[in-house]
């Protein structure tokens, strides 16, 4: 645990006094302190391209009155700097008269260990793995023309100090291993990317040759794409594979269920609480409590312990995801979804691990029921327009389905759909729920935070596929 008051003229007592002076007439707010260390090692084009290390230290001071949020952050933790921030907050909230909400539940649970993954392994052993990755892939096939592989590791130590001196702390490890391979055959180039990660040490990647599985998967995707044909264009049935394709649920449904968009009534879901928004059999939860997952958090960035929040139960909308601000204004409780990228950013309601739970069907049943459609196994990025509800996805591995059978791989297909209606088009839910490999980063209002997703195979009756073949 970092001691934020060790090398500064600011004592804990001073900080508590400034907090008390600033927040006593506010509804909420806190001093958030963060000390993060991160490293990134990249192999590219046969060489170690970069090895970088970063250490970041700073505070974010927040005061809330009614609906108004005043925020000020700096990377200088000192008496002067905190006083300057305090002044800035008070100038925004000149006439505030709130009642401070002291309620923050406590937790004894921990969903990851207090470790620093960067220091646990020396640099040489990481460099060695990256070189092995490069040699392994290049010796596998002479069509391999480019290999990029990277490790990134992070330890983020945070402390939240609230009015009255309550202090809440958390230490969060995070690692990520990634492989990208480009194949070239008969003048055609295609790429395959795969990665794994979580809130743990590098051990499981470096020790038991787990990295080989990641290489094999990236290579397999690139090989499939080398044989791919232009994707069809138009409306058709779509089978989504289990695991990572749940990022579609995250974009299409998840964002629309975040508290801020619903309080502001800019989400297409804001007036649908308690109503049917998905087919029967569709249950979606947002869970921050899964051991060592990328989207898991012991406490969120406001200090609230995370939980498993049921968003949609058997097709009925049950809950939104809340941070403290939106929960208070919507007269409900925080669900532990208050997150921020760093001390430089304000808290927003954000997803953790968003999962559609298993149903009864098998993937084979789904495929064999489709006359003409596509089978999407993996996606690249996606995006949603919260207001119109429209979302898109780019398939990185997909196949056409003809007469109930999987056909040729197809390239570069984009899927476009309508968030509020897409779940009503789900006609089968698989019995094969799978977690994603731990690679997701969600962007919102310019802030990126690590998230997880999970789902079984699902059959969507109607979706627009944006290929080039009419």
């Amino acid at each position: 645990m970092s001691n934020f008051f060790e090398k500064t003229d600011l004592t804990r007592k001073d900080a508590e006094n400034i907090i008390s002076e600033t927040l006593n007439k506010c509804d909420d707010g806190e001093l958030y302190l963060e000390d993060s260390k991160s490293e990134n090692i990249l192999l590219d084009d046969n060489k170690i391209k970069s090895s970088s290390y970063s250490s970041d230290l700073g505070f974010g001071f927040r005061a809330i009155s009614g609906e108004i949020v005043a925020y000020s952050h700096s990377n200088e933790i000192s008496k002067d700097s905190l006083n300057q921030s305090s002044k800035n907050l008070q100038s925004t909230l000149k006439s505030s008269k709130g009642t401070y909400n002291h309620e923050i539940p406590k937790t004894n649970k921990n969903f990851y260990n207090d470790i620093n993954p960067i220091e646990e392994k020396d640099l040489n052993s990481k460099l060695e793995v990256l070189n092995k990755v490069n040699n392994y892939l290049r010796s596998k096939d002479s069509n391999v023309k480019q290999v990029t592989s990277s490790f990134s590791g992070e330890q983020k130590s945070i402390e939240i100090i609230r009015l009255g001196g309550q202090s809440i702390t958390d230490v969060r490890p995070l690692v990520r291993f990634n492989v990208s391979v480009m194949l070239e055959k008969n003048g055609r180039k295609e790429t395959g990317v795969y990665g794994i990660g979580g809130r743990q040490s590098y051990d499981s990647y470096l020790d038991n040759e787990n990295w080989k599985n990641v290489c094999d998967e990236a290579y397999r995707i690139a090989s499939v794409n080398l044989e791919s044909k232009p994707a069809p264009a138009g409306e058709m049935k779509v089978v989504l594979g289990p695991g990572w394709p749940a990022i579609l649920i995250h974009e299409a449904i998840g964002h629309g269920l975040e508290g801020d968009f619903n309080r502001k009534k800019t989400s297409a879901f804001h007036d649908l609480m308690g109503q049917r928004v998905a087919s029967e059999g569709v249950t979606i939860v947002d869970d921050g409590t899964i051991d060592k997952r990328r989207g898991s958090l012991t406490i969120d960035d406001e200090g609230t312990p995370t939980e498993r929040t049921v968003l949609i139960e058997n097709g009925i909308l049950k809950n939104f995801m809340q941070d403290r601000l939106n929960a208070r204004l919507m007269k409900t409780k925080s669900t532990g979804n208050g997150r921020r990228e760093s001390y430089k950013h304000v808290v927003l309601p954000r997803m953790r691990n968003t999962m559609m739970l298993s149903g009864k069907n098998t993937q084979d049943e789904m495929i064999s029921s489709v006359d003409k459609g596509i089978f999407a196994v993996s996606f690249g990025g996606g995006q949603v327009d919260i207001t119109s509800g429209k979302f898109v996805f780019n398939c990185t591995e997909a196949y056409e389905i003809i007469d109930g059978k999987i056909g040729s791989p197809i390239k570069g297909a984009t899927l476009i759909g309508d968030g509020p209606s897409i779940l009503k088009e789900v006609s089968m839910v698989g019995n094969d729920m799978m977690l994603d490999p731990g690679i997701g980063t969600c962007g919102k209002a310019g802030q990126g935070v690590p998230v997880g997703v999970a789902q079984p195979s699902i059959l969507i009756d109607k979706m627009t596929v944006g290929g080039t073949k009419l």
């Binding site: 100038s91 925004t92 640099l123 480019q146 295609e190 264009a233 429209k390």
Partner: protein, 438 residues
Amino acid sequence: MVKDQEYLRNKASYCLDLAKKLGATSASVSVGHSISESVSFRNKVLDESNRSDNLGVSITTYIDKKKSSISSSNLLDENIKTLIEKCIETTKITPEDEFNGLPDKNLLANKIKDLDLYDESHIENDKKIEYLKELETATSDNDKIVNTESGFTENKSNFILASSDGFCEGYKTSSFTASCVAVAKDDKSMERDYDYTSKCFLSDIKSSSHLAKETREKTIKKLSPKKIGSEKINIIFDKRIASSLLSAFAGAISGSAIARGTSFLKDKLGEQVFSQNINIIDQPDILKGLGSRPFDSEGVKTETLKLVEKGQLKSYLVDTYNGKKLNLKSNGRCGGTSNLFFENGELSFDELLKSNSKMIYVTETIGHGTNLVTGDYSVGAAGFLIENGEFKYPINEFTIAGNFKEMFNNLTLANDLEFQFSTNSPTAMVEGMVVAGK
């Protein structure tokens, strides 16, 4: 106030001296400070204020051809010392790369031109609030507008870039940005649109009434969209989307994509990659330009480049490392393009709209469907159906797809270029793209 040049220079030389003392054969450092203050509004009341104070240093150390780097926001001498020690230790065990090194001394910027990138003016939060109040009041001046959000940000930055080869330069920049997002609603639909203005000088930003009018009209125009069928058709890219074609082009000619062989424009230097009347310029010395800079992020001087002349690719974007790999000199594009633009075409906007009896006018795209390795392009889109030169009705939930190689060859530009951002395009038409709809 942002830290002055003297403070930044002192930090930079402390870092360089220490790096050399600890065993670096060469090193570069950049130290920067920025302060930004913003206010945001929602439905005509104050929603948020945000003050951001960012100090940061990043250091790259070399031991001959070995390299490593660190960055930190903690500028206490003691912390910097620990980090540089760590950086040197890492450098020692990082394998050599023959292309590593500082830029060629002859290419470094020596006379730094003042490009007029800093405005002393300071706008107090109270004044920002006044602007936003007017902005939202004017934007909401229609029953269909049900929600407005807006923001005003002032940013002041200063930085210094220094290297063990004696380069030590930096300058202040400022920016003032106002933006507005509106949500409109009718019994069939809810739609959102936005507009924003961003300039180096406060006096140059759009007026609140201008911004309000644009936002309001754009948003209401989108209500009650229809779906369309799948077909091959000409697409007109609104200016704000057309610039994304330029960004994709810039990504595909970046030195690293070319050197790594991961670009569809590799080995195309001197070849026809656009239709004959297309010219693309990257001009770093536009006064008050949002992308202007006298030198790149390695200190190499920047000059105007004609990237594409009469459709022929004339130049890649080259930095020192990839330049050595490609056997080319750096052209001062480490960190990418500066002010990038298509030169105007010959048709007026109206003529472009009338060039075909039925076309699709795209005002926004969503998704990341740009593959620079293959040139494949497929994104979600929204916009309008155009018939006989007229906007018929709004459309959405469709995709547009093609391949940049063909799209670039089928490109026609209007003559309505404006310098609003750092990358700018006139309205653009691409013939024969595939639209997928219902």
